[in-house]
Point group: C2
Chain length 148, copies 2
């Protein structure tokens, strides 16, 4: 029917939809945060000084700057992140991971790793999982701040 390339793309779209559904169901009840919010915190955790500008976060999360502004607001209210100005450039308003945020992201990451392992539990060998991760990594290569 479809070319192999097209088939790969179509299946990636489907696999993504299934994964998002699965993770959303499991995660919200556990930590009260959406998957995207946890990813935001994970990017901060990985960044130097645990902080990133909203623009950098937007690039890493593949969303618009306005979305980052609105995602950060409730996280700031929950004291998971703080706001920090740059002394050299008054335009910058870094999003900084707090202590509480670090704790939460550690727990959420553990939950996510369990859920991820569950997805491959049946009918997958370790080399197959590694191969999938490797091939997918080539599709996202060249981006700053790869989490995985």
């Amino acid at each position: 029917m479809a070319t192999p390339s097209f088939s790969a793309v179509l299946r990636l779209l489907g696999a993504n939809a299934r994964l998002e559904e699965r993770f959303s169901n499991g995660l919200g009840s556990l930590h009260g945060l959406a998957l995207k919010e946890v990813l935001l915190l994970m990017h901060l955790e990985q960044a130097p000084r645990h902080r990133l500008s909203r623009i950098d976060l937007a690039k890493r999360l593949y969303v618009s700057p306005s979305t980052v502004t609105r995602m950060a607001a409730p996280l700031e209210k929950l004291r998971m992140v703080g706001r920090e100005a740059d002394p050299r450039d008054a335009r910058l308003a870094y999003v900084v991971l707090t202590e509480a945020g670090q704790e939460l992201v550690a727990n959420a990451r553990a939950s996510l790793e369990v859920m991820a392992a569950d997805i491959f539990r049946d009918r997958w060998t370790k080399p197959e999982i590694a191969s999938l991760a490797d091939l997918l990594g080539r599709l996202t290569a060249g981006q700053p701040g790869d989490l995985g």
Copy 2:
């Protein structure tokens, strides 16, 4: 850092975001339709008698039934799909692909296959693409109406 399973999941999310961005940019200008609308038409094309109930479409597109209702409305206005009642069950309102819809989906599919090939143009061998498609197919297995 992350377990291989978690890494695969994270990269899949990122790859999906990049692909959607790329396909949205290229497709809208070509045929005036969003990627999701083309996928809807492709599912109809593949279905017996070129028609599906809104519920079946929702499952295949991984969206809610209300979204299908609202996606079909403008396509019906454009005469890409029609509405057909079931003589046995008056609750069913099939979405049917029209002649014009078949033409459009053929053209759009060709565009999508070119775009898909573009994504893998550099640094990918045919076996690698096939392997990726195969592995991703295992994540979506068991679903009705696989397009690829």
